[in-house]
């Protein structure tokens, strides 16, 4: 495709917020009208607990992202990008809105406090993130692999984990 068909500029999608928006003191960015809160990992549990007691009654999703090959460029000022990110999606049925929380997790100490005490439903999701990314959740009652076998080595969804391929061996050309 030619350059005229290039992707639309990201500014069109990113709503420009005149003043830095915050939620309980944590910076907020917006994506397609969806609020995204950026929070440090030490403050995560406190924030989710406060939010749960307000109206964000359910934790829908918790997943990890490995930004090894593509560092985030969309973080607000004051949030330093790290290799891993844990993304939590909450929902408020009263406000009919979802809220995304993004937590930066450094590669040299990949651990996050568990949300199990606040939302027991994150148990399996945290196990999945641990299994796939090797991010540990402090205080999780049963942090074992969930999808891969117990004796599996490595964490498959990390970007430096190779995709399963059988290497093709070429014979040396005769006379070479």
């Amino acid at each position: 495709m030619s350059d005229t068909n290039a992707a639309p500029a990201p500014e069109a999608a990113n709503e420009v917020v005149p003043e830095p928006e915050t939620l309980h003191g944590h910076p907020v960015t917006r994506y397609f009208g969806q609020r995204v809160v950026h929070v440090g990992r030490t403050e995560l549990v406190g924030l989710v607990r406060t939010l749960r007691d307000e109206q964000w009654v359910q934790c829908l999703d918790l997943c990890g992202v490995d930004y090894l090959a593509h560092l985030q460029s969309d973080l607000p000022a004051g949030i330093a990008p790290e290799r891993f990110e844990v993304v939590v999606t909450l929902i408020s049925h009263a406000a009919r809105e979802r809220l995304r929380i993004r937590v930066q997790v450094p590669a040299d100490d990949p651990s996050v406090p568990t949300l199990f005490e606040v939302h027991p439903g994150t148990e399996a999701m945290e196990r999945e993130v641990f299994d796939m990314f090797g991010i540990t959740f402090e205080g999780h009652p049963d942090l074992t692999r969930i999808l891969m076998p117990e004796d599996w080595e490595g964490h498959p969804l990390r970007k430096d984990y190779g995709i399963g391929r059988i290497p093709v061996q070429f014979k040396e050309a005769p006379g070479a």
Binding site: D61, H70, P120, L143, I146, L147
Partner: protein, 441 residues
């Protein structure tokens, strides 16, 4: 493993799963018992540990090769006589690394990957994936494409719920219901096949619209099917809903409250069975659900019967929506006329070199999607099906995560089973309606 402080002198387990298994009660500390039985009941760790029965308990395996586990679900049950005390689902037997595969496929190929996750309702997987990608691309679909998607979703919801009715009947020993449910589902699948060319794994919803327009005569074909459904649902009412044996097997079995369902992240019929009216189609409308008329079905007791009745009645609501689709499906394009995502029509390829090149590039290199992240969710027959996409600006997703409702809903099993009879376990598994392809992905 890192976090579990399982005793090092633990006996070698029967299979190679090790720590993933349920530990015998003597070895499970209060914390583990608490997680398995009481985390949503808000009891203390001491109470959970003191919960042990006087008699000796037995741990049995149910699955992964049990006919009523709907695939390769393995449950470890701790039994005191015939009473289930603790339950632990052990999953992963169908893990095929679809999220990892998704990172190597272009957005056009992604549909063929995600459609295989929840194989009983493939349209919803494609729809959620496409909605997330379209959000990143900033596409606005023509109304006909939106309505075709809605039509396909509801048709798929009907076949998925018929599959539930069939397997639920089978699990409870009603083999007639199994045959009936399968028959009705197959008729629905034939219409899906007429439209998409395939019974399952359609890859019909594409980014920017759908793969094809509806074929000629679809109204009559679909109308005939829809007319056949209400009398059959009435028949099920006689056969099952009003039958004392059926009610006795389901009523009061596997009860969950609204608070517990919310805490465990349950969505879909499980959440609605507790009397909590939450349906994304009505409450966070996507597609054109705000333009059609339908009711959200809720239960009142949160038991297996409510979950059965909700799915049965959701079929009627889907029929209502489909009639409105037949009447009101707008004319126009079935795909967005954006050359970035839509290939040129087949006829153009024969006469235009540029169209041929364009077509070739689109299907080999794919199209670039702007940097960013998006989460899109749809109300699948099992609950909220969400797709979280992270794009690095290339033609393949940087990360594709699927929030499978079955995966999360499975966490309610230990709670639903607790204190029940082992004979009811089958009814409870069935009422959660897990699809293992989506659980393990």
């Amino acid at each position: 493993m890192t976090a579990t402080d399982a005793p090092t002198d633990a006996p070698t387990h029967l299979t190679g799963e090790g720590d993933q298994e349920m530990a015998p009660r003597a070895m499970a500390g209060g914390a583990e018992v608490l997680r398995e039985v009481g985390s949503v009941l808000r009891i203390s760790e001491a109470e959970a540990a003191a919960d042990a029965p006087d008699a000796e308990t037995t741990i049995i395996n149910m699955g992964p090769q049990h006919p009523s586990t709907h695939g390769v679900l393995r449950l470890m049950l701790e039994l005191d006589g015939e009473t289930v005390l603790r339950t632990k689902p052990v999953i992963g037997y169908l893990h095929t690394g679809m999220e990892k595969t998704g990172e190597t496929l272009t957005y056009l190929q992604g549909g063929t990957n995600v459609t295989r996750m929840d194989y009983a309702s493939p349209i919803f997987n494609e729809l959620a994936f496409c909605l997330a990608a379209e959000e990143l691309l900033g596409l606005e679909l023509p109304p006909r494409a939106v309505w075709i998607r809605m039509l396909m979703s509801e048709l798929n919801r009907i076949t998925s719920h018929f599959l539930f009715l069939a397997t639920n009947g089978m699990d409870l020993g009603s083999t007639s219901m199994m045959i009936y449910g399968w028959r009705e589902r197959e008729e629905g699948l034939r219409i899906l096949e007429m439209i998409t060319g395939l019974r399952m794994n359609h890859n019909f919803i594409r980014i920017g619209g759908s793969a094809a327009d509806l074929p000629d005569g679809w109204q009559e074909r679909l109308g005939t099917y829809l007319e056949s459904i209400p009398p059959r649902l009435e028949e099920y009412g006689v056969l099952m809903t009003n039958q004392p044996i059926w009610r006795d097997r389901l009523q009061g079995v596997g009860v969950i409250s609204t608070e517990e369902a919310l805490a465990l992240g349950a969505t879909g019929p499980i959440l609605r069975s507790t009397g909590y009216a939450w349906d994304l189609r009505r409450d966070l409308p996507y597609l054109a659900y705000d333009e059609v008329d339908f009711d959200v079905i809720i239960g009142s007791y949160g038991d297996c019967f409510d979950r059965y009745a909700i799915r049965l009645n959701e079929i009627s609501e889907s029929v209502r929506i489909l009639w409105q689709c037949i009447e009101r499906l707008p004319e126009g394009d079935y795909r967005i006329q954006d050359k970035k995502v839509t290939p040129p029509p087949r006829a153009r390829i024969d006469e235009s070199m540029e169209a041929l090149i364009h077509h070739f590039k689109l299907f080999t290199e794919g199209f670039k999607v702007p940097e960013g992240e998006a989460y899109a969710a749809v109300e699948s027959p099992r609950g909220e099906l969400g797709v979280y996409l992270v794009s690095d600006g290339s033609a393949t997703p940087y990360r594709m995560h699927v929030r499978g409702p079955s995966f999360v809903n499975l966490q309610t099993l230990p709670h639903l089973m607790r204190g029940g009879q082992i004979a009811d376990a089958v009814a409870i598994i069935s009422s959660v309606d897990p699809i293992m392809g989506e659980v393990d992905r």
